[in-house]
């Protein structure tokens, strides 16, 4: 098989690996909160809605949790009826009130609806957002990358966006989930009204290797994931990564972030497949660490080459 063919196969396998979603206690807990918000909204349909903030570092699984929840509720038959129970909106940087409305409408347009994102004033757009959320039967609005609200050009803009979200909650359109990295919680701290409408935040913190509970959760997650890798990518020895100190090395490279750990494995699988192999070696993991972590400054040491380091508290 030529290298060109290997690349094609590697790309396909990588795409299949990206689609793997592992049911895990953190995701279940988050889904539980979402269910609670929706249930509350339906029970208290005429009143204000509640919200929740979900924070976590990059690749901590926030988007995966949301997408898996959306996939569960946004069934094809509802989509056909142009009903969107979970609307996942990814906010742009330097978001303004109008930008917020446009982002929501864009999310609708991505679902094949003519929302007229550029048509109308800010007021009109926000009014359209409310109308559309109601018409589309949106039960849960997810505002991803919520830190962009905080990182707006100025505080006035950030506050106005926060106020807008609060108003949307008060107006009782639908409950809102706000996702973001560190700093996304700032509007909640400064706006008590918003905080009072919020459920306790869902924090997707990194795995603490020294924490037995985290370690157990991590091993269960990694085992499930590697089994999926074997099934999906056809890697013969994926579960062999559960042996010895490899899981610890993976955690070290990923800084305890589950998504990063998965990405490391995906990188190693990609390298192996490109090489025409369906089994992973330590060199694959080492090379993946170099290329995807050390080169990007996400990690400063390659344990697969330099050896396992002593257990130490997580940098986070």
């Amino acid at each position: 098989m030529s290298s060109l063919d290997n690349n094609h196969v590697a790309a396909r396998i990588r795409a299949d690996l990206d689609a793997i979603v592992i049911e895990n206690p953190r995701a279940s807990a988050a889904h539980g909160v979402f269910d609670y918000l929706i249930e509350h909204s339906e029970r208290y349909s005429t009143g204000g809605k509640r919200c929740v903030l979900m924070t976590g570092p990059t690749q901590s699984g926030k988007s995966t949790i949301i997408e898996s929840y959306a996939a569960r509720l946004n069934t094809p038959d509802l989509r056909e009826k142009r009903q969107i129970p979970v609307l996942h909106v990814v906010l742009e940087a330097n978001i303004s009130r109008k930008g917020l409305a446009q982002n929501i409408l864009e999310a609708l347009e991505e679902l094949g609806i003519q929302a007229g994102t550029s048509s109308g004033s800010e007021t009109i757009l926000l009014r359209r957002v409310r109308a559309y959320l109601k018409a589309a039967g949106v039960k849960l609005l997810v505002l991803d990358e919520f830190q962009h609200v905080v990182h707006s050009d100025n505080d006035r803009v950030a506050n106005s966006v926060g106020e807008t979200i609060k108003r949307m909650l008060i107006k009782g359109v639908c409950p809102i989930v706000m996702c973001g990295i560190r700093g996304a919680e700032r509007p909640f701290k400064t706006n008590s009204q918003l905080a009072q409408r919020a459920e306790p935040a869902i924090a997707l913190s990194p795995i603490e290797a020294c924490d037995p509970a985290d370690a157990e959760f991590y091993m269960e997650f990694l085992a499930s994931y590697l089994l999926q890798v074997e099934d999906v990518a056809g890697i013969e020895n994926a579960t062999s990564l559960l042996n010895d100190t490899t899981p610890s090395m993976i955690v070290e490279v990923a800084n305890g972030v589950l998504g990063a750990a998965c990405n490391l494995i995906k990188g190693a699988v990609t390298l192996a497949v490109r090489d025409g192999r369906y089994h992973i070696t330590g060199d694959d993991l080492a090379l993946a660490t170099d290329r995807y972590f050390i080169a990007d400054g996400l990690c400063f040491r390659n344990p697969f080459r330099d050896g396992f380091d002593a257990v130490r508290p997580n940098q986070h």
């Binding site: 094949g112 003519q114 007229g116 048509s119 559309y132």
Partner: protein
């Protein structure tokens, strides 16, 4: 170069880019397309209807015209509105064919003149909006100044801020886009109760529902129930505007034809509709009401038809209504005996005439020439118009004319009958008085026949047959009846002689084998002939009317050859006038000639000798002929009388104007 399949795929891709609005619209059956767009605009929180159309790829600054001009984008618009393509297509108004107007558009499966539909203006009925806040398509129809549903007068401007209602911005068709106040609370008033039933019926002709249109059409009288509903509606608008009381007449129609319906009201439309319902009586009453007061023989079509005369203009566009009026008016005018000078007036077929007909039709129908018809122009009871301006402008009553022609065809002219009898025509009235002939008294028939006396053909045939059947008792020589009666200038004498022949008093002793008339053909017994002449001379003294005779008649009366008559005229012995076909000689001239000259045959008859002997006798008496004509010599009567010692009392009886 892309393959066709690739082009098709590209087009499909482009169509896929058109996304539906999240909140679609459910159209009402009677809702206009712009109302759908406006509803979508409101539901989806858009300010401008143009934006909704832009989503469908219809980039326009005047969205109200999109239903008229962007029909090719119907599918795209339907996609955006989440409506079915048919719902949108049926609400669009592409160019269509309408008999009544050149510039026509489709109207929910029918067609209407484009000028009948308002595009940019939003006309609403507040009462209807209270019932359902959507714009009814029927409100687009300009001639409908009321809502067919509520009979409320439509408003096109905000009653609060006076701003024009349009389609550019939309915050709901029930609200003024300028002041945002609701229009639903306004009460602009309704049309009167007396108009409502017909107002609903005429509005049904332009209903968006094809079944309602068909039902409305079925209720119309012929020929309208065979027309397209749009044409009938157009006709109602035309008639309504043309018969408006607005001065000067026809002004409203001119405004309407220019798309200005500001002065066109429900009463105008209903009036036009009622005129159609009562057709053709309505047209008749219109014409009667407009009957010109003047007694002119010929009226201009404008004078009679008023504004409806527009349909007779050579520049008038052919429309079903125009064709109907052009065909219905001429017979109607004939029936009402209103002469109109117009080219089209005489174009209607004779079959459509009821009581009158034009000159041209009469010529064709009765095979008459124009001159004959022109002679009866002055007779009351036949001719409606006496002045002939153009062909077809004269009106004749059909029945009297037919009767006159019938009588004419059953009659024989005086000259023809006189020729068959070989008697002077001036004797025929006496025959009629004697009951031997039936004279035609019908003035029109006489004029159609040329103006001369005429006799019923049946009676003439009867007389001729009877004369032909007179038995010939013996075959003996003698003068012909005509010769025996020569010099008798009294018609009664000729009539009585014929009567005597028929009665057997005058014996026929022979018949000559000639075809020059009865009197020349039969030979009578000479003695009876002389007796007859004497009897007739004393008995028949009826005055001759002053008249002229032809040279043929003169020949008969004088008992000389027609060529001799011509010679006498040429020799100026007899004064005559040449009138084209022959000489016209006054009877007095003949009498004078007869008094002055005597032919040999007359001497011979006096002396009962032959003409040759008579000439010898006169020659022996020393009397020379005074005049010699082609075949005969004429002697001075005075000289001959003197020679014969005959008193001059035997001169022909003749009195003209008291002279004898």
């Amino acid at each position: 170069m892309p393959r066709p399949s690739q082009v098709v795929r590209l087009a499909d891709d482009e169509r896929d880019e058109i996304k539906p609005l999240l909140i679609g619209v459910v159209p009402h059956a009677d809702e206009s397309l712009m109302s759908l767009v406006s509803a979508a605009c409101v539901a989806n929180e858009h300010e401008r209807t143009a934006q909704i159309l832009a989503f469908a790829g219809v980039d326009t600054l005047r969205p109200a015209f999109a239903p008229f001009t962007r029909t090719s984008d119907a599918n795209a618009i339907a996609t955006v509105l989440s409506a079915s393509a048919n719902d949108v297509v049926v609400r669009m108004h592409p160019k269509a064919h309408c008999l009544s107007a050149g510039d026509s558009v489709a109207w929910y499966g029918a067609s209407l003149p484009r000028s009948f539909l308002v595009a940019e203006q939003r006309r609403v009925s507040p009462a209807a909006l209270r019932a359902s806040p959507h714009h009814r398509a029927s409100w687009m129809v300009r001639p409908l100044t009321y809502c067919p549903e509520t009979f409320e007068l439509l408003i096109s401007s905000c009653p609060y801020c006076s701003a024009k209602l349009g389609w550019l911005k939309s915050i709901g068709v029930w609200r003024c886009e300028t002041c945002t106040r609701s229009l639903r609370h306004h009460r602009p008033g309704k049309i009167t109760w007396s108009l409502r039933q017909d107002a609903a019926s005429v509005a049904a002709l332009v209903s968006v529902n094809a079944k309602h249109r068909a039902q409305a059409l079925a209720r119309m009288p012929g020929p309208f129930n065979q027309w397209a509903p749009g044409d009938v509606f157009f006709a109602a608008v035309e008639i309504g505007s043309l018969t408006s009381a607005k001065q000067p007449p026809g002004t409203l129609n001119a405004e309407v034809n220019h798309g200005d319906f500001s002065n066109f009201g429900a009463e105008d439309l209903v009036r036009g509709f009622r005129a159609l319902c009562e057709w053709p009586l309505s047209l008749k009453s219109y014409v009667e009401d407009n009957r010109p007061a003047s007694k002119a023989d010929l009226h201009h079509v404008k004078e009679v038809m008023g504004p409806l005369a527009k349909f007779f203009s050579p520049y008038a566009k052919p429309t079903p209504l125009g064709d109907l009026i052009q065909s219905a008016v001429p017979p109607l005018l004939h029936e009402l005996e209103i002469p109109v000078a117009h080219r089209r007036y005489s174009k209607a077929e004779a079959a459509e005439r009821s009581t009158t007909m034009t000159t041209r039709e009469a010529q064709r129908h009765f095979n008459l020439d124009g001159r004959s018809l022109s002679r009866i122009g002055g007779i009351d009871g036949i001719l409606v118009s006496q002045r002939q301006v153009r062909a077809g402008a004269k009106l004749f009553k059909f029945e009297p004319l037919k009767n006159a022609v019938y009588i004419l065809r059953g009659s024989i002219s005086e000259e023809a009958l006189a020729a068959q009898l070989a008697i002077p025509p001036l004797a025929l009235p006496a025959l009629a008085r004697a009951g031997l002939l039936d004279a035609v008294e019908h003035k029109a028939a006489l004029l159609l026949g040329g103006g001369g006396r005429r006799y019923v053909t049946a009676s003439a045939d009867r007389l001729l047959s009877a004369l032909d059947n007179v038995p010939v008792l013996t075959s003996a020589p003698g003068p012909s009846l005509a010769a025996a009666l020569a010099g008798k200038f009294n018609g009664e004498a000729w009539a009585r002689a014929l009567g005597d022949v028929l009665a057997g008093k005058l014996k026929v002793v022979g018949k000559r084998d000639i075809k020059r008339g009865f009197a020349r053909r039969v030979v009578i017994e000479p003695k009876l002939a002389r007796a007859m002449v004497e009897t007739l001379s004393s008995a028949c003294s009826t005055e001759w009317e002053f008249q002229t005779v032809t040279s043929g008649t003169a020949s008969l009366l004088l008992g000389i050859h027609e060529r001799d008559v011509a010679d006498a005229i040429e020799a100026q012995l007899v004064e005559a006038y040449y009138e084209g076909r022959g000489y016209s000689i006054e009877l007095g001239e003949l009498v004078q000639f007869s008094r002055s000259f005597m032919a040999a045959w007359e001497v011979a008859r006096r002396l009962n000798i032959t003409s040759q002997s008579a000439r010898s006798y006169l020659q022996a008496a020393g009397i020379e002929p005074d005049v010699s004509l082609s075949k005969i010599h004429l002697w001075r009567r005075e000289e001959v009388e003197l020679a014969l010692s005959v008193r001059a009392t035997s001169t022909p009886e003749f009195r003209q104007n008291g002279s004898s």
